[in-house]
Symmetry: C2
Subunit: 365 residues, 2 copies
């Protein structure tokens, strides 16, 4: 049987640097554990635009569809700000999400013991924090039509986007949240603005329906998204799994990520429905962006990208034990005091470069 395939799309900014460290980990699994992957690489985002005039070619899209898992670094940068909306680096990422139908975006917000002091929040508020945000990723205002900028009646312009959710779209992401909750704290909090948006009312009703009909054993609560943002800051440990739409998920997951003080540490998985192979379509990427200001300087933290690969081991390749192995290696290296530039707090630590961090993690494996 052929090895499972991974398509690497390193992207822009620090993407290629952090991905280089992931490749070391992948290499280690082939050499030391006999777990080999067929790895191919291609371009996405600004780096694809530079070569092809588009942030994602049809060929790359086809490769992503065919791969067992896609690993993505990051896209975007100020260099591309002047580009037309339709060819911005972000469109490449959004096309991947949409065409692969990756409706369920898992964003763990976890506080690493060795870094609990590093958060802007008090230690007791974040120590041991472990929540999972499930963000709908293929619909809502990101993709709804009509959209655009049009002339308005007063000689000005009007900018329009459409928030749009169907029963099916809500139910399927709700199911993935309930499934996850069963393997964790068995609690789901759903967030929307049902007090002002009809799409929020439908969201609330459909999540409740899935709960009542399919997951009555899981504890379900509902919260307005503004109150959710507040409660995340006030006492995040009240949450286990949070399920929310594409746009609220964008803000709330970034907010939650920042609570942990470990933005450079946080991975994500974007999953679709299971394919014939039994594996879901899947794309894994760090939560952080392309950080063009520090690109090419060996300052980037590769851990988020490495932990994204760990998520791939768990969710795409059913190698939960191996995923935990990677996660433990990361924790061990942090406990030993190794720190990339972003993790250098007042308490100090041993400064390491991007590559240095990758090497230490390989050693710890």
């Amino acid at each position: 049987m052929a090895n499972p395939s991974i398509l690497i799309l390193a992207g822009d900014g620090i993407g290629p640097e952090v991905m280089a460290e992931v490749k070391k980990i992948i290499g280690w699994f082939g050499d030391k554990r006999g777990i080999a992957f067929d790895v191919t690489e291609d371009l996405v985002g600004g780096s694809a635009y530079d070569v092809h005039g588009t942030p994602l070619t049809d060929e790359t899209m086809a490769k992503a569809q065919a791969a067992d898992a896609v690993l993505l670094g990051a896209v975007g940068g100020p260099k591309y700000d002047v580009l037309d909306f339709s060819v911005k680096p972000e469109r490449g990422l959004l096309r991947l999400r949409k065409e692969m139908d990756l409706f369920s975006n898992l964003r763990p917000a976890q506080c690493f013991d060795a870094l609990a002091d590093f958060s802007s929040l008090k230690k007791e508020v974040v120590a041991g924090l472990d929540i999972m945000i499930v963000r709908e990723l293929t619909s809502g205002v990101y993709f709804g039509e009509p959209r655009g900028i049009f002339p308005d009646n007063e000689g000005g312009r009007v900018g329009v986007n459409t928030q749009r959710y169907t029963t099916d779209e809500i139910r399927r992401v709700a199911r993935s949240a309930f499934e996850l909750a069963r393997r964790r704290g068995n609690k789901v909090c759903s967030m929307e603005k049902a007090n002002v948006m009809e799409s929020g009312i439908l969201w609330r009703e459909e999540v409740q329906w899935v709960h009542d009909n399919e997951y009555p054993d899981v504890e379900l609560s509902h919260m307005y998204a503004d109150a959710g943002a507040m409660q995340l800051v006030r006492w995040p440990k009240q949450f286990d799994v949070i399920v929310t739409d594409n746009l609220f998920g964008d803000l709330l997951s970034d907010c939650a990520a920042m609570l942990t003080g470990s933005l450079g540490m946080l991975p994500s998985a974007s999953l679709g429905a299971p394919t014939e192979s039994g594996r879901p379509k899947a794309l894994y990427e760090p939560v952080h962006g392309s950080a063009p200001d520090i690109a090419g300087q060996g300052k980037a933290n590769p851990i988020a990208c490495i932990l994204s690969f760990a998520m791939a081991l768990r969710y795409s390749f059913d190698l939960g034990e191996e995923a935990s192995r990677v996660e433990r290696a990361v924790e061990a290296v942090l406990a030993d005091g190794a720190r990339t530039a972003d993790l250098m707090g007042p308490e100090g630590g041993v400064p390491v470069s991007t590559a240095g961090m990758g090497d230490l993690i390989v050693q710890a494996l």
Copy 2:
């Protein structure tokens, strides 16, 4: 000349309790400073629905239009969750905002010295924090058409809302942000999702236009709203004035409010264009909600509502000195250790009731 008029809409939950304390302050200004207001009261939200079957009658709407300032307590409560969307308590508040055309919602996020320990964030991150969020309040996805829940093509339903902003809507709220910035730190950060939403592109361009043509002396930056949520948690003191749309403003201002640890402390002003009197149409309300769980128990903190009245003194009645007098009285009472239930932290304090807090503030005046 007639006294300036104030319409009090105490609303639901703790609304009437906290408003009772504001009335003491208003009384003090009449008695001790010769600054008298003609005060009338009426119903809004669930309490209006209970009596009239609507969260805001046309008569009350007309009174609000005629008043020099409206003071609102809070609306909503679980009792009204079963009501149809069109008569929910929130619709009363949204109708006031829309029909009075209160496009500029000022939400200061300020950390009170006496309460700096009270935040879930580290003291050094929030001590001395003083930012002003200017939220567009009469447009965007809160009011855009089409909206509703409709049958979809697969036998399910589809929930739709429309994000919609015009040139004029963006420019006028941008102006109010730049005006405020000039009287503060002279810095505006505008937040949207121009990387994924065309309405965000228009927002960015129009804010930039107002800056370049009318306020080139003010420092302007742009940030994606998800990054904004992160940066608010990471290092909020980097901001002076933030300007953003209705929905992002809802989440970001709640997040910012919670940073200060003083949700029961934070006021807001919702302002329209100047009327013939020179005064803007204006509504003042605490940022906190109706907190039905503690209503009627003397536990509510009246300070947010009292400080909202202080904002009325400043923005509606051009009594900035008197507004500062109220603010100083609040600070003095807090410095003396008086604490309503919500402010009771580990360091203790002198427990006072809602009325007790109001009385102390009147004394401090």
